[in-house]
Symmetry: C2
Subunit: 212 residues, 2 copies
DNA sequence: AATAAATACGACCGGTCGTTCTTATTTCCG
DNA sequence: CGGAAATAAGAACGACCGGTCGTATTTATT
């Protein structure tokens, strides 16, 4: 288990490339992303990228994986620090809106952008995106179900439907915040979830005043 | 006001080209759309396209306009045949979901696809898309406001917020129906709106059983 | 019948795309 | 110190890109 300076350097390069690729993909698309463009932004030669990924497609797949990791670190992980139930659901939504508002990625949301880009383009990239989305959807439903089990949401709640509605509020925020007024958009996304949860949750103290 | 057979032929070609362009753009994107590809699908020469649009960008703009017209014909117009108020809101949403479910466009929704594609790409195309989206958003708010004025929705309702929520249900349907289970997706989109309106509307007879 | 306009075509331009091949530099290991 | 492995660069490829040009065909006008 000795640390190899060669692969360490390669790893550093790889993550730097993938972070840039995630960001760039939200601007020009995961397919529109060109290797020359990516190499230039990194100050690297185009053929240098082929030393790490044998094809553009494998780089695209790695980019999707990197975006998943970034999403887990910046949105899922903070939410998991909130207590289970409606508060965690709200924390997740807030982390998501905050991610968009902080303009971490120029295109807003890597997944919203790429999933629309590939929804009619069969192939490995689309499959990878669909799988990531499926896992996200399942995760959301799990959080809703936990809130039901804690008695913070009605027992007869349509769990997948509420998960659908919560995600819809977020996707819409990603889209509208880049085309219409961002502040109004974020307010709607936040207020929409808050109203929804408050109408369903018997304990109003769990959903106190909003942050700002 | 004599009918000119030359321009008539040109018009026929133009609309045929634009219809194909709208459809193709939902597959490969409005930017990813290549003139050679489009020409080949139409059985037309590439240079023939330049006889009608002087550049790719002007064809993209015309494609957006054509998509707007298609949207108005297939979704807005049928909804306007329903009586004002919550029934019209529901009819609009149903027409939209029906449009996605009928797979009129392979990518589901021209606007969802292209607006995500261009949300970080300044230029005339993005401006045109943003304007179309803004008008759609305003239209949705007007329909909600009409329902309030008719007493079918509470007077103190946050009109833009409900419009945001309704559109969010639709956008999400466009995305999920192509990556996850379409039938479940449409059910969520429909039930989500129905629950929302029923909870707000004092007259339950206005929102009777769903179609299927 | 002759002219002008609208429409469409095939050939071709410079440029960029993803990809491959060869070569050079850095770093670990014996 | 020297060979092997990993990482990078450079040059070149065939394919496709948006776009231009000259020309042919169809149609309306005179």
């Amino acid at each position: 288990m000795t640390s190899d300076g060669r692969v360490a350097r390669g790893d550093r390069t790889r993550t730097a490339v993938l972070d840039t690729a995630v960001s760039l993909a939200t601007e020009v698309g995961l397919d529109g992303l060109s290797l020359a463009q990516l190499a230039e932004r990194l100050g690297v030669s185009k053929s240098g990228l082929f030393a790490h990924w044998r094809s553009k497609e494998s780089l695209q797949l790695a980019t999707v994986d990197r975006a998943v990791t970034q999403w887990e670190e910046l949105i899922v992980a903070p939410a998991l620090r909130a207590p289970r139930g409606v508060r965690r659901l709200r924390a997740l939504h807030e982390a998501r809106i905050g991610f968009y508002a902080a303009r971490v990625l120029p295109g807003g949301c890597f997944f919203a952008n790429t999933e629309f880009e590939y929804n009619a383009r069969p192939g490995p990239v689309r499959d990878r995106l669909a799988e990531a989305f499926s896992r996200w959807s399942t995760f959301l439903e799990r959080l809703v179900r936990e809130a039901v089990e804690l008695g913070e949401l009605p027992a007869d709640l349509d769990v997948p439907l509420l998960a659908y509605e919560i995600d819809a509020l977020g996707i819409s925020a990603a889209m509208r915040s880049r085309l219409l007024d961002p502040d109004i958009t974020y307010r709607h996304a936040r207020q929409g979830l808050l109203n929804r949860l408050r109408a369903l949750c018997p304990d109003p103290t769990l959903l106190a005043e909003g942050p700002s």
